[in-house]
Amino acid sequence: MGLKVPYVTSYLTEHCAEDDYVSLAGYEAKGGYRAAKKALGMAPQEVINLVKESGLQGRGGAGFSTGMKWSFMPQDSDRPKYLVCNADESEPGSFKDRLLLERTPHKMLEGILIAAWATGAEKTFIYVRGEYAFPADVVQRAIDEAYEKGILGPRCMGKSFAHDVVLMRGAGAYICGEETGLLESLEGKKGQPRKKPPFPAQYGAFGMPSTVNNVETFCHVPHIVDQGADWFRGFGTEKSPGTTLFGVSGHVVRPGLYELPLGTPLDEIIFEHAGGIPGGRKVKGVIPGGMSMPVLPAGQLDVPMANEYLRERQSMLGTGGIMVMDETTCMVRASCIITYFFRDESCGQCTQCREGTGWLNKIVNRLERGAGSEKDIDILVDVAGKMEGQTICAFADAAAWPVQGMIRHFRGDFEEHVRQQKCPFSGSFEL
């Protein structure tokens, strides 16, 4: 049974098992808002430089430098500037932001306030996925408390700096996790991603300069301001500093969250922390970073969990959602679920994605039924290759990569379905 609080904690989740940490008083008792106070006494550019020096990378999937992103916001603009907190966590295998929303809402708000000061933003929109009703309530209560105590509002923490925070709930659409899809949704439209450029820093929410950061990204910021860039760089690898919240799911003894430094080897997370595979079975494959990221076979689990190492194995860290599949797993069945998801969630505006996701799903289903041919496997590779890099947003890549990964490492599973004209894995999970 998965624990709701992390099995392993570090600075980010240190107090999250304590019930009163959710309240403003409880958060302040543990040093909360000390960093915001410090930041508001610094020049905005100093704060941006500090976050740049820390090497913090966005924790929402793309891993872009947070300080760099903030520096793209125009300095001498008379247009209003906005921040957007992406709390639309929807990547299958990811459930870390939910914990942070539910257990450390003030840490996120503190990170937001620091980012607002640094970028000169007057308002933050927190976009919480529609299904996260409880986390949204917790965050709204935290926002209300922060207003009552003057942390937010016309004079944040007594400074002549105004900042407002608005929480919006989504309504069930994976694509709204893509930052420009999110911006469209925020504006009351269907969440179809925008063409870039212009990037959000020039034309973002409601047409104004905007920066979109993930929940966890904001949560790292107070720690960096409080303890410094060098301290932060003491965690993780040289290129990927800090800890992150790994979410382990699937065939492990202790599925749950683990806050560990970036660069922790994948096999250490699975076997030492998450207790390995139940029933003494062997591992077959692991999706290392949420469903969009290509699977790794059993022989490659020594990889340190940081982008510079995962890229060498043709995968990525993504959102740190680790899905473990044991030796009973049929990788064609897993591919049926993966391709169905992307077919279902494609927003439909680009042909390659709208048509390609459907084709991938139909062909994989045909193979699973035992009605596929050897040629179908090649068609899958061909279709996936023609979706990649051809569309307005990265969704089509996210749909193509897992299929490519499955065939790269488990082509034998696909071929066996063709040979036997049925699924040969009778012990696999049910479809």
């Binding site: 709701k4 919006m168 069930g172 504006e187 439209k189 269907k190 979410g247 993966i338 049910e430």
Partner: protein
């Protein structure tokens, strides 16, 4: 007019939070659905008038998002997550068992109008699988017995 005065007032205060009124559309649709259970095409027209946009623009939003309903539903919306992390821990078996317990397939509503059953994509509960979403509440770390107990307790 089917949108109540209370809902209308709540919509207005949502809209005031955004630099453009239309930012309040998704919140407004949540509010309307809370009042009426679904957003019928006629209600969408009413919303369009409130927002001073064309009805098709509301319909676009209504049909794009999974959580908005254009037709009446059962009193409770029950979903089983069937995405990969949950499937690896038996959620599709659980869904089949729930279907036979309720006598309906996913996508259908019980005859007494009590439960609309569906399957959903990842709900962010991957380590606590299998799980159910009942209206706005998550129920996690389930087996069939626990799931049936929850379902049988719904009025």
């Amino acid at each position: 007019m089917v949108i109540s005065e209370d809902t209308r007032a709540a919509i207005d205060s949502e809209c005031a939070k955004y630099p453009q009124k239309r930012g309040g559309l998704l919140p407004a649709m949540h509010l309307v659905q809370k009042q009426l259970g679904h957003i019928a095409p006629e209600t969408a027209v009413e919303l369009a008038e409130i927002f001073d946009i064309r009805p098709v623009e509301v319909m676009e939003v209504l049909t794009f998002y999974n959580m908005f309903f254009s037709a009446p539903r059962g009193r409770h919306n029950v979903y089983v997550c069937t995405n990969l992390p949950c499937a690896l821990r038996g959620s599709r078996t659980l869904l089949a068992q729930i279907e036979s317990h309720l006598g309906i397939a996913a996508g259908e509503t019980t005859e007494d109008g009590r439960i609309s059953l569906g399957h959903e994509e990842c709900l962010g509960a991957c380590a606590y699988a299998p799980m159910l979403r009942v209206d706005e509440t998550y129920h996690e770390n389930l087996d069939l017995e626990k799931a049936n107990q929850i379902l049988d307790g719904l009025e």
